[in-house]
């Protein structure tokens, strides 16, 4: 009992996750800055930002539904953290697991977006409403390729649980190479989930100020920003497990280092992608997802079906 409480709260749960998420935010911002020829923030900037926001007054708009407005950020953060607990990190087993937990993780990673929508919608500002409707519209475009990309890998392993998936790929090393197309699709979809350029349409500063976050301030804004960081880690950890399932079940220290390296690789890919492109329009984004990402994900599914018939007979 005490052991699992330690796991959930300290390591690799809440405290480790939040620290790591903030460090990852720093790394993302630093790489982004260096690629743009800027100096970038000092390492403690994300921590300082969070502490500053936590110390500020929470302002709730008079017309808003105060209850929904206040609950949404906590709800978002909690679901992103919970998702992380289901993902095996450097072992084939995770803290919590059962048959079908892939679906639960994907569902838990969708919840923050819904919470952003609810928070934005109930804050009643026009900018927030446009932003939150945009984030929901975007959800329908990137979720399908993301799910298909990840489930294609699970299809090859013939399992619905992350544990089974990890065990399969440990037993069949180098099979992950076949899933690289799916990784590309899932990574680009992840940019949509994290609302980063080119898919930062819901919070496009020059159009809708800060989108759904416009009316948020103080601690609640801090939670929302932390949700995005935690989501980045949880999403990267999921991609790392599904698409790079190697170096699991080795010596814990080595395994931990491999895990960190995988996450940082994915985070730096995200920073690189958001440096080199401009923001798309919402209609262009939906077209792109359905015309390019979905067919590619379907191709990956087809490939895995054929592989399953040929290699695993």
């Amino acid at each position: 009992m005490l052991g699992s409480l330690f796991y959930i709260i300290v390591f690799p749960g809440l405290i480790f996750l939040i620290t790591f998420a903030l460090i990852a935010e720093f790394i993302d911002r630093k790489i982004y800055a260096r690629l743009q020829n800027r100096v970038g923030p000092p390492w403690f900037q994300p921590f300082a930002d969070f502490i500053k926001l936590a110390g500020k007054e929470d302002i709730v708009p008079a017309d808003s539904n105060a209850k929904m407005f206040k609950v949404a950020p906590i709800f978002a953060l909690a679901s992103a953290i919970t998702a992380f607990l289901y993902i095996p990190l450097w072992k084939t087993s995770s803290l919590l697991s059962f048959k079908g937990d892939i679906i639960v993780v994907l569902y838990l990673l969708t919840l923050p977006t819904l919470a952003f929508f609810i928070g934005g919608w109930y804050s009643t500002s026009l900018y927030s409403r446009i932003g939150s409707v945009r984030s929901l519209t975007q959800l329908f475009a990137y979720e399908v390729p993301l799910f298909m990309g990840i489930l294609a890998s699970a299809l090859l392993a013939d399992t619905w649980s992350l544990k089974g998936l990890a065990e399969f790929y440990m037993a069949h090393p180098w099979f992950w190479v076949f899933n690289l197309l799916g990784f590309g699709v899932a990574l680009i979809s992840l940019l949509g989930k994290l609302e980063k350029v080119p898919f930062d349409i819901p919070e496009a500063e020059t159009e809708v100020v800060a989108g759904g976050f416009t009316e948020y301030s103080g601690r609640m804004l801090g939670f929302l920003r932390m949700t995005l960081d935690v989501e980045m880690i949880a999403g990267s950890a999921l991609l790392a497990l599904v698409f790079f399932p190697f170096g699991l079940n080795v010596n814990p220290v080595l395994g931990f280092l491999i895990f960190i390296a995988k996450i940082l690789f994915i985070v730096s890919l995200i920073s690189l992608l958001r440096t080199v492109v401009a923001r798309l329009r919402i209609d262009q984004m939906i077209n792109f997802c359905w015309k390019f990402l979905v067919p590619l994900a379907l191709l990956q599914l087809l490939l895995n079906l054929i592989l399953k018939g040929v290699l695993l007979k």
């Binding site: 743009q36 496009a204 020059t206 492109v277 401009a278 798309l280 262009q284």
Partner: protein, 411 residues
């Protein structure tokens, strides 16, 4: 989206997309723009009136501050009118130096615009890169004139500072770097997929609309209208220099971007020629303190388009009337037309594409009282008394404070 409710959102007077206060009230249906109302007047500074209260020499520095970016344009445009009234023959070395500063200013303005455009479409990398390179031209301007903006180079009858051989070499070295970078930007702007996606087909303004709405500068040239004061009505040294007027027939924001980056290359060409041909001679002719009676209109191709100044003198050392028509005023009506039936996401870049400078263009708005529709004009003394009464009603009385202050000063 078809049944989305109609609503109005305010873009401005305070909004992250706008660098200066200006009101755009956008009627939306979902993401579609139904119509836009533009309201000027948030940044009116009464410069035209202030110019009448100052001498011609003081006015040069005042009018230089009409705009932070095209400061040289406004001061040159003003003194050209004054010199015409006074019948001064400006030495040709001064004209060449004015041309060089004018073109350096165009380079800095266009690079600034490129960065802003990048930011408006969420491409911050372009902003960081082009603003870094803009520092090269800013440094050149600072070392020639002593200032990064508001150069103070012009005076009636000539210029105040010379360009010596070392400075000439410095300009040429800087141009080499800038030219190389500009080639890279032309490549980016014409090849990067997301930029093309966001820019092409957005903010379409056909050739006929340009002529009907009288758009000027790169906005007009991007629709295939060859309208450039430097070539149409040469001033300063432009008549003796050879350059092309860049036009494009895309008629959209993409075309405006292409025109601006290509104009950068023309500017480098003009500066090189001007430095080479730079004649010897005096910098300035002596101008009379009192300008004889007369009036003149002067035109100048500012980075944003045609700038027009009208000056009327009454034989004293102060002008009788100064009228400024900044290029943004000519282009701002086109924005309304360009935004029709577009998406909200296109709004920032369409506004930015005319390279607006709202503080230059702002003018007095005559307000009518909303309830009764009658005019109300209030002069300075009555405004003063009104404000004292207004504060008194709210329990703040300044009369005691005033007395105390006066006692202190008299003591």
């Amino acid at each position: 989206m078809h049944n989305a409710p109609e609503f109005k959102i305010p873009i401005g007077p305070q909004h992250p997309a706008l660098k200066e206060p200006e009101g755009f009230s956008v009627a939306l249906k979902g993401e579609k723009i139904l119509g836009v109302d533009i309201r000027l007047g948030y940044n009116h500074r009464g410069i035209e009136k202030a110019a009448e209260e100052r001498t011609y020499i003081q006015d040069i520095y005042l009018l230089e501050r009409v705009c932070g970016i095209c400061s040289h344009s406004h001061s040159t445009c003003f003194i050209q009118a004054v010199e015409e009234i006074a019948g001064l023959a400006v030495p040709s070395r001064a004209l060449y130096i004015r041309t060089i500063i004018g073109e350096l200013e165009r380079i800095h303005s266009h690079l600034l615009w490129l960065g802003v455009a990048g930011h408006e479409i969420g491409f911050d990398t372009l902003l960081m890169y082009s603003w870094r390179d803009r520092e090269v031209v800013m440094d050149i301007l600072a070392s020639i004139t002593g200032n990064r903006v508001n150069y103070g180079m012009n005076t009636i009858g000539g210029v105040r500072r010379d360009i010596n051989p070392e400075e000439k070499q410095e300009i040429l070295n800087g141009l080499k770097i800038l030219e190389e970078r500009t080639k890279y930007y032309i490549e980016i702007a014409t090849q990067e997929t997301t930029i093309i996606k966001r820019l092409s087909g957005v903010g379409v303004l056909s050739r006929e609309d340009v002529l009907r709405l009288d758009a000027v500068g790169p906005t007009a040239r991007a629709s295939g209208v060859k309208r450039d004061i430097r070539a149409d009505d040469p001033y300063a040294a432009y008549g003796e220099l050879s350059f092309d007027v860049i036009t494009d027939d895309h008629c959209d924001v993409y075309g405006r971007t292409v025109v601006r980056v290509k104009e950068l290359m023309e500017s480098y060409k003009i500066i090189r020629q001007a430095l080479e041909k730079l004649p010897d001679g005096p910098l300035v002719v002596k101008a009379p303190r009192k300008i004889p009676i007369g009036e003149a209109i002067s035109r100048y191709e500012a980075p944003r388009g045609e700038d027009v100044h009208y000056v009327r003198s009454n034989g004293t050392e102060k002008p009788d009337r100064v009228k400024v028509r900044a290029p943004t005023l000519a282009n701002v009506q086109a924005v309304k037309h360009m935004l029709k039936d577009r998406f909200l996401a296109d709004m920032p870049i369409v506004i930015a594409a005319i390279d607006p400078c709202f503080s230059c263009t702002d003018r007095m708005v005559h307000l009518k009282e909303q309830d009764c529709g009658s005019d109300k004009v209030i002069n300075w003394p009555s405004l003063h008394t009104y404000s004292i009464e207004w504060h008194k009603e709210r329990g703040i009385d300044f009369t005691q404070l005033n007395k105390k202050l006066q006692e202190r000063f008299t003591r």
